[in-house]
Symmetry: C2
Subunit: 386 residues, 2 copies
């Protein structure tokens, strides 16, 4: 059957501005071509090709193949563009056009997104970014130092004592481990109050500006409730795992003028996107998308630790955090996951100074005195940037 479409009306609503996505498609040229045409349909009209109404829907709403070239012997690099209006100028729907239904099809990976100024200007991005976070922490040049309160099972006061020692030893950012939420053994509100006070007490002793960053990853309503409580209590930022909360939760916290604290995104429950030849490439996910969502720093597992990211993938993430994106600020890559102070020299080679070094369990292993271990970590980093 033929659909009735008011083409004149629709034409008046389409600006002509388009955003594009670079996909890597597995297969030979014929397969990749078919896959690319399928993506154009699947991500927009989701309709049998022969029934797509001629006129504006076929010419403008339907995705469009802009470019196609061999990636290697087994895959193709294909750029597909979409009308800006298909995104409804909302992060959730933008992500849906980029990779919604096709996430369920094998052999398609989002490599890069290219958004025009008109679309970028719909997003505020990170409130602080690299420069803002440096100003907040009063660290002009060197890499920032980051650690996590753990293990799960400690009480709020036991965690606060650790927070105090970390801050006393010169760590800049002290976050909850991402598994600490509101467990009975260290309830959120008690933990936030005690850890905030502990870090403030250490700051008074050191003259530093360390911040405590509680984990606000939580159920839909509790997320905002906890963030507001933490702000009120004097916390210095928020940790959030968007794989659990949805990516728009980052944007919501970042855009909230009553919160106005730096955001650290955690990769938990999100690894499946970067595991194979399907999914979203490290550069696009941890670089571009986290940044668009409004994270000021993106945590991910570094090469050489207990996870599987390669040195090249980590380098690509760092590139994604800094590539020009219109008004969207540059953010910090924050590699972690089984790092130790011994990893520092190699990490500086890859990341130089605009990086946040996240060392968790490794700081405990260094020696018997936690404060001394932190001082050693800091001295090692400062040695490179004096």
């Amino acid at each position: 059957m033929a659909l009735q479409v008011d083409n004149d009306r629709l034409q008046g609503l389409i600006s002509g501005e388009r955003f594009s996505v670079i996909y890597r498609l597995q297969g030979n040229e014929t397969e990749a071509s078919m896959q690319a045409r399928d993506i154009c349909l699947e991500q927009t009209v989701e309709f049998p090709e022969e029934l797509v109404p001629d006129g504006v829907i076929r010419n403008k709403i339907l995705g469009r193949i802009e470019n196609m070239e061999a990636w290697d012997e087994a895959s193709f690099k294909v750029e597909i563009s979409y009308a800006v209006e298909t995104s409804a100028l909302e992060l959730t729907q933008l992500l849906n056009v980029i990779f919604g239904n096709i996430s369920i099809k094998p052999g398609i990976r989002v490599e890069e997104i290219n958004l025009p100024q008109s679309l970028l200007s719909c997003f505020k991005g990170p409130r602080f970014g690299r420069d803002g976070l440096r100003q907040l922490l009063k660290v002009a040049k060197r890499p920032l130092l980051f650690t996590a309160l753990k293990p799960m099972g400690l009480s709020a006061s036991e965690l606060a004592e650790l927070a105090y020692q970390f801050a006393l030893g010169g760590i800049d950012i002290i976050k909850d481990d991402h598994g600490l939420t509101d467990q009975l053994f260290a309830p959120f509100e008690e933990r936030v109050i005690l850890c905030t006070q502990a870090v403030q007490r250490a700051n008074q002793a050191t003259g530093h500006h360390a911040i405590y960053v509680p984990n606000v990853t939580a159920s839909y309503h509790n997320l905002l409730k906890r963030a507001r409580f933490a702000k009120q209590a004097g916390a210095g930022g928020f940790l959030i795992a968007p794989g659990l909360t949805g990516l728009d939760a980052i944007r919501t916290l970042a855009d909230d003028d009553a919160l106005a604290l730096p955001l650290f995104s955690h990769p938990a429950f999100q690894g499946s996107y970067v595991m194979g030849t399907s999914g979203i490439a490290h550069y696009a996910l941890y670089g571009q998308i986290m940044r668009l969502a409004g994270a000021d720093a993106v945590i991910y597992p570094n090469f050489g630790g207990r996870f599987s990211f390669s040195r090249e993938e980590c380098t690509r993430i760092a590139q994604g955090t800094s590539v020009p994106m219109g008004p969207i600020r540059q953010i910090f890559p924050s590699p972690g996951g089984g790092m130790s102070v011994e990893s520092i020299p190699e990490m500086i080679k890859v990341y130089d100074n605009d990086v946040i070094f996240l060392i968790g369990g490794g700081l405990f292993k260094q020696g018997p005195d936690l404060v001394e271990n932190c001082r050693y970590f800091r001295a090692l980093v400062e040695k490179y940037y004096t």
Copy 2:
């Protein structure tokens, strides 16, 4: 360094109740054993093994390997249990313990989750479930009929005209295509009002009880705002893609007594979890987890359509929607994605009557008259269950 832990205090906060996860781990026995031990640490204390404090943290908080056996020649089936308290009784943190950090490690797949009564009772699950949805739609026995309004680009009134024809033809559930959000060409509020009215008008003509289900997948704040608007306007359910909003958004809508409408989960932006040997198995993700979150029906791509799920994977999903889960209601599997009326006989063999058949574009292809196409679809299904 050694951590100070108040073991007596902690012991008093741990009930001894545990939930467990069955993982499939790629590798030989030695590799799988190491991987399993690593999961026990990674998903709880996230701490170097040698530094985990003896006592309650090591004995109770740490994950515990309960069982391990060969899955096949290349993988092992490993059951790991966790203290119920590690989940903080919140869906987000429960998912984090099940598959947070290890989502970033290759070769680990969540196959099944087993929650004790004490944990299940923290979740209300689906408000309607199979029985409730059948009562609402007044369909006692046969499979339910489901379709989608599309393509993107139609105006709200053009979509409403389609909704009218679908309802007139006897479709039970008429949803927005998951790509329709709040685009200029069919704004959410206008679309909801017109489509709701159109379906009501058709119901008056047919005496049926069809419902219109708008897509409320949206940014954090707009999600609830749109759901409330739709409820007010008389919509009959909500479509939501938890890959975009986070899984807890389903629970939030399901638990909201002021909304009280059936929820249909859509798999967009979530396919990466089921793409390979890492991730979450179909049974656990589309069956158990969606149900725990509160979806009354779970949409997923059927075998034989334009996606890649196998017949066995789809069967497993259906099993997950009905397996005993304490007080959590059974829900409907809703296979779709390139289905046509020709697929019905084969689908009935697999799903029998407790299924929702989702046919979108296929209904348009059947013949020149959309209402007749719907009637044909309905007659075909009714033929099996009279």
